[in-house]
Each structure stands twice: as C-alpha cells, then as structure tokens.
Symmetry: C2
Subunit: 613 residues, 2 copies
C-alpha cells in the first residue's frame, strides 16, 4: 500500500499514513490536540481543517456543513477527507473575519480580531507517568492550539484557581489570553460568547457602544453626562481641581470610572447579556480625560510647555479599576498626540482613515475643545483650539447643549423661524442654532464685519427689514430677540446678546486661525483641500452654509464638507473589534505632528484678522 | 584641518570632529547623554569610554584612574583622549564582574549581573519646541543608555509619580528596570547602592543572606524557625492544614511571609543599611514551601499522582506581598522539578554545578525530606524520600534539632562519650548523634542486622562489653541509655529506644532505596559514582563513617563524600547575584528527570532489603 507523508500545521508534525486513510486518522496518529466531537461520524461538522495547496471536491456529506467560501478556501472535514498522496493540513486557521462599521452613512471595513482571545482546550489528565504540573499541561495544550513556540505566562490569581477550575470542568476549559499572557480560565467551552464596550469619554458626555466581538454587531448604545462636569465644565478647570483640591485627582477619576461602570451595566441590560460576558473596554478621550481616567495628574498639560505624563496607549485590568466585567477583562486607553490633541482625535483619524488617504483632507472635531487635523497619508499636522464653550452653550446667555428644548436651527425667510429639538417650547439655544442666527445676522447686515449688532436705524439692507423689530436693548447694548417670554418654555426671553456674538467670534476666529496655520505649515492653499470632515455632535448638526458664512470654515470649501458623525466613537469601536486597529492608533499617535498655535510666529496677527466676519 | 569621523556607540551616532579635538568634544557635539562630572578637567576619572579597535598608550593623567586590565581593554578617559583619525567609541559597556561565592570551603565563580538594574539618566527638559511627554523623554534617555532599540514599558504607579519625581530631581534620575520594564524611578543618582536577600525556606528553618548586589559581598546572615511549623511539622500536615482549615492557605502564607519580612528587617539592621536599599529577594524551598509562599494550594501534590500547580520560577512585586523593601523591589521564587523535588534541590544542583559536571556524582540533601540527585552534565535523575523526621528529631523519643543541648556526636571507645552542642548538659539528641549511636551499636553487635536491640546476655562481641550496662528496659523493650537523669539538663534520661532504631531504619532504608533505584535507572554501579555531595544542615554534621556503617550511603563511597554546606542557600545567593544563574535554574528544573519511587517496579522489595543494617 502506498505510504503518504502528511504534514500537520501548526507545529510542522510529520506523519506517514496509508493511502485511503482519512485525514482524521492521520491527525489522531500524530498526537495533535484536535477534537472530533461526534467521534468522526460525520455528524457534527466541527473537524474543519484546511488542505494546503488545494483539495478534492467535497463530498455531499461535507457540503451540508461547509459554505461556498469555505469550500473555495480548501476547508474540508477531516473525517471525510481521504488521503491519496503527500499533503499538508492546517488545523487551526487564524480566522480573520471582515466586518463593516457604520460611519455616518458610510461603511468602514474592519477585520474582526478581538483584543482578548478565547481558546477551548482539552488538557491531559495527570498520571503517575506524567506528573507534570497543572500549568505545564495546560500550557502544552494551549501552545498546540494557539502557537506551538509560544512562551505563555499566567497571572498569579488565575494560577491559584487553576487546579480547581481544571478538575471541576473535567480538564476541558476555555483560556482567555492577551498575546501570550493567560488572563483567565473558564470551564468548559465559552468560546461562543464575547462582548466588549467601546467608550468615547467626552469632556461633557460619555457614550458607550456594546459590541459583539465575534460578529462585530452593535448590541446597544448608552450615554450619560460626564459626572466630572460637576467639578468644572472644561479641562482646565478640572485640571486645577485635580491638582489643587484635596484628593481632587482621585475624586475625578472615581467619578468617571463609576459612570463607566454604570453604563456598562446599562448596556448589558439593554442588550440582554451578562456583565461577565464582557471582556474588553476601549476608551477614547482628550488627553486630560485620558489622564484623569488613568489617575495621572494632568497638571503639566495645563502649564507651558504643556507636556502630558505619557502619550502612550495604556491598558489595565478592569478589576483594578473596579469596573465589573469578566474577571479577565481589560481596559484599553487610546494613545494621545499631544497635551491638547488626544485619543479622540486619534480615533477620528483612524475611523476616517486620514492616515491612508490619497487626497489632502481637513478634519475638524468640535466638542468642548476644537481639534483640527490636516494632510494625507503619512504626513498629518494637528492643532487644538479652545473653541468649545461657545458651541456647547456654557458661555452663551441663553446657551444650552443640544438637548430637548434647544433651538437647533434658525431660518431667516419672510420672517424669523426656528426649530426646537423635541418640538417643545424653546428653553435655550445650542451651538448649531447660534451659528445659524449669527450667520443670518451677518448676511443681513444686522451684525457688521467687526461683530457689532447694529441699531435698527443704521441698517440699510432691505432684506433685513422684517427682522429689525427683533433688535432690542439688553444691558445698554443691542441684542437680537429670538423668542419672547410668552413663547418660551421657562417664561424668559431667548436672545442673542452682543457678548454672545463676541464669544462666537472668538471661537470661530480660533478655529479659522488653526486651519490657516496648519495650511501654511503644510504649504498648501485652500483649494488643495479635497474634503472637509466634520466630526463630533456639534459638527453633525451645524449647517455647513452657516459655518462657511461666518468664516468658521473656508467659504470656498462649502461644497466639500462631509459629516462623519461621532467618528471618535467609531474609532473606539474599530479598536475594540480589532487589535490591528488599536496598533494602528499607536502609529497614528506617534506620527501626527502637533503645532502649538500659541508658539507659532504670527499667531496673534492671524487670530485678530480671523475675528472679522 | 583633517576631519575625522567618530562613531559613538551604542546608538551608532556619527559625528565629524577636527583632528586634535578630544573624544569628549565629539561626545558633547553628538548630543549623546553622557556625563563629565568634573567638567572635563581630568580630575574625576568618570568619563571612561572604550576605544573600539585599540587605543593609544594612556597618558600619565589617565593612568591615575585606570587599572592595567582597563588599559588593556582599550578603556580611556574621554577628556584626555585626542582624535587623530576615524574612530569608534563605546560609551556604556555592559559591565559583567566576576565574584566568588564560598561554598563550604570551595569557591564558585559568578558574574555579577543583578536581577534588577539601575541606570542614571539625565532627561531632557520639555520646551515649546519639544513637547514630548515626560515618559517619552525619559524613555529616550533610557534607551540611549541601556538599549537603543528597547521597547520600554512603565508601571502605572511609577508613571503616576513620574512628573513630580522628574521635576524634584531637576530631571536627573535613577531608573530601576527589570528587562525593559521600569519598576521604579528615584532621584537623583542612587546607582551606588543596591542590596538583596537570598532566602532558603526550609520546612523547619528559614535562613536569609543579605548581599551587596554591586560587589557580591555577604553583609549579614539571619535565620528563624519557619513559623508554619506551628501548624504541622512536615509538608503533608501543612498541606492538609492549608486545604482543610478555614483560611488555612492564607494563614500559612502569611506566617512565612511575615517571618521573611521580619528577617529582612533584622538583616538590614545587622548590616547597617536601609530596607529601602534592598531591591530583590530570592527564595528557594521545596515545592510545598514554594506553593505556600505563592499562595498556591499544595493539595494535589499530596494526592496521587502528586502534581504541583506549577513548577515554574515565579516573580512577584514585594509590595504585593507586603514585604517591606524598595517599592520597586521584586521577589524571585525558584522553579521546581516535581511535587517532591523542589527549588531547594534545583539550588543545590546550581551551586554544585552537577549540571555541568563531567563526572557522575550523587547529591543528597537531607532536611525534613531527603532529596537525591544522580548523574552528570545533561542527564540528571532525582527522587525524594520521606527521610527527615528521624533526622530532625520529630519522631525520636529524645529527638531534637541540632540546637544547644543536643548530643551531636557519640563515640564508642573505652567507654561511652558524647559531645553536646553549646557544651551544656544534654537535653536530647539530634540526627547526627542518633546516626553515631546506631552505627556504633550495629558495629558492636548490640543492634542486630534486623535492627533489634539485643538483650545483654545474647551479645557476644567482646568490644561491646563496656556498653552492656547501657542496655535497659523501656516499655518492655530494650533501649540504650545515653545519659541518665542525673547528667541531663532536664533531669530525665536520654535513651535510644527500639522504636527510635526502627525510625532510623525506615529513614536510611528510604534513602538507600532511592539511591539504588536512581543508579538502576541511570544504568551505573556504585563505583561509577565519583563523588557524593552531602548538602543541608544535617548533611554537614553527620559523620560519613556512621552514615556508611548503617548503609544510609553506600559504604564503598565513604572516602568520596564531600560536605557542601547549605548548598540550597548558596544557589539562592547565586541567583540573587546573577540573572544568568536564575535562568540556569529554570533550565535545570526543566531538564532534571524525576522518578516517582512508589511507582517504580520492585520498589517495595528493594525497600525491605534496604532496611537491614
């Protein structure tokens, strides 16, 4: 009878089989650790192997279990496949599955490759002839399935529970690993369940996306206000609190960690899964949020020359942070670019793939701070501006966040019209509404190029006529009345004051200056920019025409603006689903150039110029 | 003027210098991080560099600072050395220093290469033009000094204190690393102080050796009883306690850890150093001691098939175990060979270099258990016997440890004589004394080949005559009276009972059987053994003639016996001084074969044969 050489991978085991034997016979003979759950009766379809270099047509029995793609890739069932010549068989394929992530209407492909890995192993029982330790026997089974040359390590707490876990599960266990480190051991086969939550920690809002790590499916979305806001609306105030108040750093850290732990619970409940089925959390946030989450004092970010403690991606055991997920669970914190350009910007670049773009693009993420990135492919430059308070309502007389009751859009047609979130009586105005009002007032000549609200009698534009009656006096200055006390929810009028216009002017001046300086450093002109990506909640609601009308964005680019939704959140999801994406985030953080606007020669002149409407 | 290319290592920095410049000028120009403490005035001798490929004769000024060996190796002072052609200069040499460890009269060479490393670095200050994070700047300085391609990691608690440590020390700090992991950062230069304690955790006694890790010098020795003894004299009793009593494992772990923490304090005080100058502890012990120290349940070691949780070398943060040394300090636990052949045996092999011996040797370490190793070079076989209780006094009627008041040697000349430890009235007998008595009684025919103490009237050997009066009745059996109640410290007689002889018989039978089985497995005869190494406290005090007389050791080898002292402790010291030795310990643990005597065919027959005197 013909002898055939069968090479079994991984492990490069050679075995000789007789012609007509099945691949299952060869695998069993080789001593490789591989399961035939139905005993080789062709009933379970579990003994999938890949025949390297091409396989015969599958039998009808195999077709019941294999799909077209698998058949095409040479996947066969070992119990069906007959040997009739030398061959190579691969037992465990690193399965990389592609998944699409929705990115504000567009899809971004990602290979599913979760941050932690689960492997089911059947461990040899000890005997008087094999007295190897529990850990050694487990390590051997694991190496065979995951990486034959692997140097696995195990944590002490897991080691402590190993003997009982093994024996309670009849030596059949699922091993949770990160690289070659064993983080947890569960009995028996839990490989079909694995969830994670991708977080976006904003200065104001925390959002979490619960994802199925094995399918890439989004299971639930949760959000809450960042409870640190109680201790300061912006990063500078919080930094001062952390540094100067007693236990300030700990208070802020605990606040956000507890909020995240609550959101994890809420997300699990919404999705109908257990907390303990969650194994990984990813976090993106600006550098201050990154530091406060990790318990690092952000003090020196706020003092010139504005250096962070670290810009690296960090990972922690969830249990050390008292976040209640699986005991093996880990938290992965995005890396930062600089003290004021953080992991959220890295996540925006990752989600929008600016780092691989062939065209020059401009990305603007306006949250409590405004971060700007310009460039393409290998060279990206970035900066940060303190743009937020005007857009998030904090320093605007009737300002509020984009919540129910906020005027979010304003129209100057025959008469003044506005829309209110939730369709209720208005209680304030949010960033996009403010932008619309000021853009309209500038266009009508009610606000002049210097930002002054003119008195009705000096306004000459006939189109402005229907709105002159809205110009009122407020603290001896002019103001523009949007809604009188009778038409608001709280019975107080909603108006745009002269000071409100000034605040908006400062914010748009800062962003506009940032864009100009980045273009100057990059050596390009406005028309070289092929696309403007607007990220963040505010970026998604604003009217691009208004933004261009007041010069927040270059008017020439009005038709090249694209809303990319919460791209920071999308980046967080991508990294949660795929280790390659998390590693790519570190490459991005390490390569994007940061420009300190205040140190740039000519900054103040450009800023003053940019204030004009 | 001639331009010369100077390549500076590590880092491969190229710089061009003018002929006649000093190497110091080139180093300064290259931006390499290198100190000239006296400012280049030739006064301090600190700017040692190695001129790769040979150097000119040193100047008289240099000869003041350099020894012959350094001059030979091309070491020069950068501030003296003139450049007159292309050259390569190496700034930081990995300095490996050889040191000798006293091993019971002999010396064993070891390269000083401490488990943790200290590196002094001067970190760049941040500026508006270099806004890199604190960690990034530190990492860069460190990489330059330690390993230019290094991927350094830092622990979160160290990262948290980094900003203040850097600034309080004017950015001059000492970094404590293990491999590429930063464990601690201290300001400013602490590189001249580094201590460690090598422990030998015996079932009965814990010994610690405080060592200067930079010179290899032993600074103090401390010892204490293992407080776990309160919960059981031997490993089986302790295992049962750990497994079955409430919090048993924790109680035993805490007991030994606290004893070690106390001994660390005592050792530091004796040596006149601070606890915080201690950075590393090594621990050797049997597998049960290893498990109890690490908080691993030894339960399955005591149940067939006797498997440990792990046999690996383990390392922990001392702080996690509440052992008070430097906050960066670590504890290194020796690996084990099997459930009953532990890290102490690995340490004996390491210290005696059995693993590199060209001759077949037999090592016997008799403590509370008796471990035996046979072989040479790459093949060593080992086994364990429950030998101890007889030798450590636990099951002997007048038995006691080798402490003050113990009869440690007995002489049968014209009349009975004995020596007592401390020169006081005797209070009991220790293992070496017991061995002498029984060996003497066997030789005189008072004890027959079966181990029976004969009645005076059936003893025919005339040499026995002076001692017949010592044969007395005790519980209806014969006994041998060593000291009557008038001559002892406690007023009770000290005698060797029939049961005592039986206990010794079982112990010597076990060890003798172990040796025979190992020889059989190795396929050698007694005369092939070139040397017998006796380790452990008991091994050092016993009289080899007595041991051979009763057949504890093969009589043919009486003249090949060598006492190697506390070789387990020496192995612990070696690993503390040198990472290579610790790694070699793991190789030893992984390669020594273990023989389960009880599972060896013919064991019981051989054992019964071995009981005969």
């Amino acid at each position: 009878m013909k002898r055939c050489k069968v090479v079994i991978q991984p492990g490069n085991r050679e075995i000789f089989a007789s012609e007509g034997d099945t691949v299952m016979d060869a695998i069993r003979g080789s001593g490789a650790d591989f399961d035939f759950p139905c005993g080789g009766k062709g009933r379970c379809g579990k003994c999938r192997v890949r025949i390297v270099g091409g396989a015969d047509s599958p039998s009808d029995g195999e077709k019941e279990f294999l799909d077209e793609e698998e058949i095409e890739a040479g996947i066969r069932l070992a119990c069906f496949t007959a040997i009739h010549g030398d061959m190579e068989v691969r037992l465990y394929e690193e399965k990389k599955r592609e998944h699409k992530i929705l990115l504000a209407g567009e899809e971004r492909a990602v290979f599913l490759e979760p941050l932690l890995k689960k492997t089911y192993v059947e461990v040899a029982q000890p005997t008087l002839h094999d007295q190897s330790s529990d850990w050694k026997r487990l390590k051997e089974s694991l190496a065979l399935k995951v990486n034959p040359g692997g140097k696995f390590k195990i944590r002490l707490p897991v080691l402590r529970s190993l003997p009982e876990t093994l024996r309670e599960s009849q030596h059949r266990v699922t091993v949770v690993t990160e690289g070659e480190e064993v983080l947890g051991i569960e009995g028996p086969d839990t490989t079909r369940t694995m969830f994670g939550v991708a977080f976006d920690i904003g200065t104001t809002t925390v959002v979490g996306y619960l994802m199925d790590l094995l399918t890439g499916k989004e299971m639930s979305v949760v959000s809450a206000l960042n409870p640190q806001a109680k201790f300061g609306a912006d990063v500078i105030t919080r930094t001062n609190f952390a540094d100067q108040e007693k236990n300030g750093l700990e208070i802020l850290q605990t606040a956000v960690v507890e909020a995240i732990d609550d959101l994890v619970g809420e997300a699990a409940e919404k999705a109908g899964i257990r907390r303990t089925d969650i194994y990984a959390l990813t976090m993106v946030g600006n550098t201050c949020m990154h530091h406060l989450f990790a318990g690092l004092n952000p003090k020196y970010i706020a003092l010139s020359p504005y250096v962070p403690v670290t810009g690296d991606a960090l990972s922690f055991d969830a249990a050390d942070f008292r976040i209640h997920i699986n005991p093996a669970g880990k938290v992965f914190l995005f890396p930062n670019i600089a003290g004021f350009v953080g992991g959220d910007t890295v996540a925006v670049i990752l989600a929008t793939e600016l780092d691989r773009s062939g065209d020059i693009k401009l990305a603007v993420d306006i949250g409590t701070n405004g971060e700007i990135v310009l460039g393409f492919g290998e060279r990206l430059v970035s900066c940060s501006t303190a743009a937020g308070p005007a857009f998030e309502g904090a320093q605007i007389s009737s300002g509020m966040r984009g919540a129910i009751g906020a005027i979010d859009h304003v129209y100057f047609g025959d008469q003044l019209k506005y829309s209110v979130i939730g369709g209720v009586k208005p209680e304030g105005i949010c960033g996009s509404g403010l932008l619309d009002v000021v853009a309209g007032l500038v266009r009508l000549g009610i606000v002049d190029a210097n930002g002054r609200i003119l008195p009705p009698d000096s306004i000459t534009n006939p189109s402005a006529r229907p709105f002159l009656k809205h110009i009122v006096k407020n603290n001896k200055a002019n103001a523009f009345l949007l809604a009188d006390q009778g038409s608001t929810g709280h019975g107080r009028p909603i108006m745009i004051t002269q000071k409100d216009v000034r605040e908006l002017q400062l914010a748009k001046g800062a962003i506009s200056t940032g864009i100009k300086i980045l273009m100057e450093i990059y050596g390009i002109r406005t028309e070289d920019i092929k696309e403007v990506l607007l990220a963040g909640a505010f970026g998604n609601y604003l009217d691009p025409r208004s933004a261009c009308a007041i010069g927040l964005l270059p008017p020439e680019l009005e038709n090249r603006i694209k809303m990319v939704g919460n791209a920071a959140g999308s980046g967080s999801k991508l990294a949660l689903l795929s280790r390659s994406e998390l590693e790519r985030a570190s490459q991005i953080a390490g390569s994007v150039e940061y420009v300190e606007l205040g140190a740039y020669a000519g900054f103040y002149d450009m800023f003053v110029d940019s204030l004009k409407f």
